[in-house]
Structure formats: C-alpha cells, structure tokens
Symmetry: C2
Subunit: 240 residues, 2 copies
DNA sequence: CGAAGGGTTGATCAATTTCAATCGCGGTGG
DNA sequence: CCACCGCGATTGAAATTGATCAACCCTTCG
C-alpha cells in the first residue's frame, strides 16, 4: 500500500527518489490507535509531529459546559504541528475518530530532513498554508452558512481531500464519522445533522450510510454548498 | 514610537541587538492605507508578507449571497502569510479596518533574514503557531458559544493581544471596529451585536463606545466568555 | 444644510435546539 | 444460542435563540 504521506506531498511539490526514501524512513515505525483514543490532550507538554498514515484523527476541544467542538479532521497523508515544540503546551486535544495508524517524527528529525531535502521543506510549508486555508474556510462556514450549506460544504471538502490521496471510488468514499462527530465538527446538534442529511438525501445530492458517503449529484451538492475549491490549492505544480 | 513588530517578537523569543536592527531595516518603508482599503483581494497572485506597524487589518471573504465573514484581525506587530509565495493565489482578501501603516517584506528578504537570525526564525514560527491557535479558538466560538459568550470571548482575546504589545491603558483600549465589523467577525447580525453589547454593558462587564472598549469587570467578562488564555501561549520564555 | 453611515429599539419570523420517545444493531454475559 | 445493554439513528413537538423587517436617532462630513 502506498505511503499516503509521500502521496500527499508529491501532490504539492516534485519529490526526488531520495526525498521519497527519506520520507519513508521517517514514517517507518507507525503505531496503531483505536477509535476514540486520545493521542494528545490539551495541557500536555508539546512533543513530536504526527503523520497520519491510515485512518482519521481530529483536533478538538471540550468547553466548560461539556460540549465539544472539532476544529479539524486529519486524514491519511496529513501531518500535524510542524514546529510544535516551539510552544510549551497543547491548547487542544487530538483523538483518533477511526482506527488509525500514525507515525511520530521528532522536531530534530524533521529539521534535519527539511535541511537536507528542500523539496520536502517546501511541501511541508505548503501543506501548512493549505491547512490554514481550510481552517479559515471552516470559520466562514460556521459564521455565514446555513446548516444544509455547512454539511454540504464539509462533504465537498472531505471528498476532494480524499480524492487527492486516492481514497475515493468514483462518487463514493469511506467516511468513518458518526452523526455525532459531524455535529461536533459543524457546531450543530446530532438531531439536526440527521434532519439535514435526510434533506440532502431527498434532494438527490448525497447519501451517507454505514461509514461511507455516496455523492449522488455532485453539481447539486456543490451548488447547495456554494463550494469553491480554490482554498484547497490543488493546482500548485506550475508555481515557482 | 516603538516598532510593534520588534515588540511582538521579543515577547516570543529573546532578540539580540543585531536581530532588532535587521527587523527594523526590513520594516523601514511602510505604506499607509485608509480604512476599508483592500490590500490584497481573493484571487490575486500571492506576493510579499505584510507586517502591520500601526492600525488594524482583517482577513475576510465575501460569500455568493453577499454576506461577509471576517476570519482574523491583524493588529500592530502581526505579520501575515509567511511563505505565502508557495501558493499560487490568495483564497481570501485582506483589508484595513482602521487606518493602517503596513510594511511589506518579500519572501527572499524574509528567508535571508531568517537564515541569518535564528531567533527571528523561531519567533516567526512561534507567531504562526499562535495565529493557528487563534483560528481554532474562533472555530470553537462560532460552533459552541452563544452570542453573548462569543462577543465576550473576542473582547477578552483582543484585549490580551493588545496588552502584550502595549496598546492598553489599564482596562481601556482602542478598538477601532464598528458593530458591523464585529458582526462580520462573529457571524451575527449588527442588530444582534448591538443588543448583546447592551446586555454586557447592563451586566457591568464591559462597555464599547466611540472606538474604545472599557473592561468594567474583567472577572465577570472572563466568566461570561468562559475564557482560557492558554491558546495565546503568552508564557514562552522558558521553553527550549 | 443635507446626506450617509452607524447605532438603537420594537415587533415578528425562521432556524435550530431541546426534550422525549422509539428503533435497530453489534457486542456481551449467561 | 439468546436476552440484554448501550450507542447511534430517527422522528415529533415544544421552546429558544438569533435573524429579519422597519423605524428613528445621532454624528460626521462634504
């Protein structure tokens, strides 16, 4: 099975065979985590950078009133928190939302690799910029989109991200997220998520069941979401 | 008047006299922008990094339905989009919300400075991590806080950020944001912002008028917001 | 002096949450 | 093997939050 980290970076920059060897070596000893297992908790001292090879993680925070907000999903190929060692402690937690295989790369290891492999450095910085764009898109969704638009937008985003790392099968892809997790990510109640999903299904746009999404009518879904993929910056090869 | 960029970075890392000279040289030729002036528009080719010296900017995006969402405020000392040249085009716009004085630093200039001044490099990466934490906090606010909590939380954040660069005067600070701008930042309507501000004033927590905020009872405001300053990472000196 | 842009308030409306109940499924212990 | 349990999914009805619509006021600025 392909190394998703290599696959993702090679979608952002050109990698040489040497670069690929280095990336594979750095992620050669992954660990497995069960769903719902916390990898890092808010308040923990900062540690190594994580690289997701299989499965899904999320960043989240629990509020004083007990509600939870998910701020990001990390799927295979995604890395989190380059340079994180510069901060003293984590301001949020990271959890596996589905069974995951995750490699850890220490800051020094990463720094050495980035010094020796400028393509990798460029790729990492680019990935970080894209992740920031994704966060901004989430802010926009939460602030100014209705619940239906919000759900549709998130599915569009996740579908495209999954597709660039080869995890989609035509209009289908595995989405190992319960409606409760979706609710925590979109700032809604599980009850309302359920109604919105029904609406999208009846509209013939998409259907979610047993851990996988079927895009029934992509055009319709994109129209409902008001989705513009520019923030995912998928056309990078031609830049300097 | 102190160079706010220097002031901000020296709150994150120790700077030598040489570092400070380099930073001052890099920001020596700022330009002035009137309120509401766009510095960068969505779709523009990416350019230099901006450094705010005086005044306030915001990042924002206009949706198809004409509404606007602000995703970040940039105050004096804040820099935006280190490495931005790695992306082909901007996925959002940046505008002055108040009259601003802004320096631009090209990517090569910045790279040279970071190579020659490791402290500056550490400071820039740290600042970027903090900015990401701020974005995540905004996602949490939009997703899981009520309108009163949201307003209170934003004011707490802006107050602390302003204080670390020396822009506060006891419980007072200049907040050059109209209620309309606040509404665009918090995903609410101006009408509702107005009612929430009234509520906070009547509760004796804070008051906003003519471009400045007075924190009447900080404890009360923090309690209403459920504010935890950890995400601003203000105690960094002791790290490696 | 007049116009424009914010700020303020009231009344009504719509979206989403809350509360409550039921259903279905996979896993577990007997 | 089967009854039971717990969690997620689903649906209905009531309650609440925040949006919308519509004035009016005040200050600033040309």
């Amino acid at each position: 099975m392909a190394n998703r980290f290599v696959q993702k970076l090679s979608g952002l920059v050109d990698l040489t065979a040497r670069d690929i060897v280095a990336l594979e070596a750095a992620t050669a000893r992954p660990r497995n985590y069960a769903a719902r297992k916390d990898l890092i908790r808010e308040g923990d001292e900062t540690g190594a950078m994580l690289v997701v090879l299989e499965g899904w993680l999320c960043r989240y925070k629990i509020l004083p009133n007990g509600t939870r907000q998910i701020m990001a999903f990390l799927m295979p190929g995604d890395a989190c928190d380059l340079h994180i060692k510069l901060l003293a402690e984590m301001d949020h937690s990271i959890q596996a939302v589905a069974p995951a295989r995750v490699a850890t790369v220490s800051r020094t290891e990463m720094q050495t690799m980035m010094q020796d492999h400028p393509n990798i450095a460029r790729g990492m910085y680019t990935a970080q910029l894209v992740d920031e764009g994704i966060m901004r898109a989430w802010i926009v969704s939460m602030g100014r989109r209705s619940s239906v638009e919000r759900v549709a937008h998130l599915i569009c985003e996740l579908y495209l991200r999954a597709r660039t790392i080869g995890l989609t099968d035509d209009g289908d892809f595995a989405l190992p997220l319960s409606q409760i997790v979706l609710a925590d990510a979109l700032g809604m109640t599980p009850v309302h998520i359920n109604r919105v999903l029904k609406e999208l299904r009846l509209a013939g746009a998409m259907a979610l069941s047993r851990g996988s999404v079927t895009i029934i009518d992509a055009g319709k879904l994109v129209a409902i979401a008001g989705f513009d993929e520019n923030y995912l910056h998928r056309r990078l090869r031609q830049m300097t």
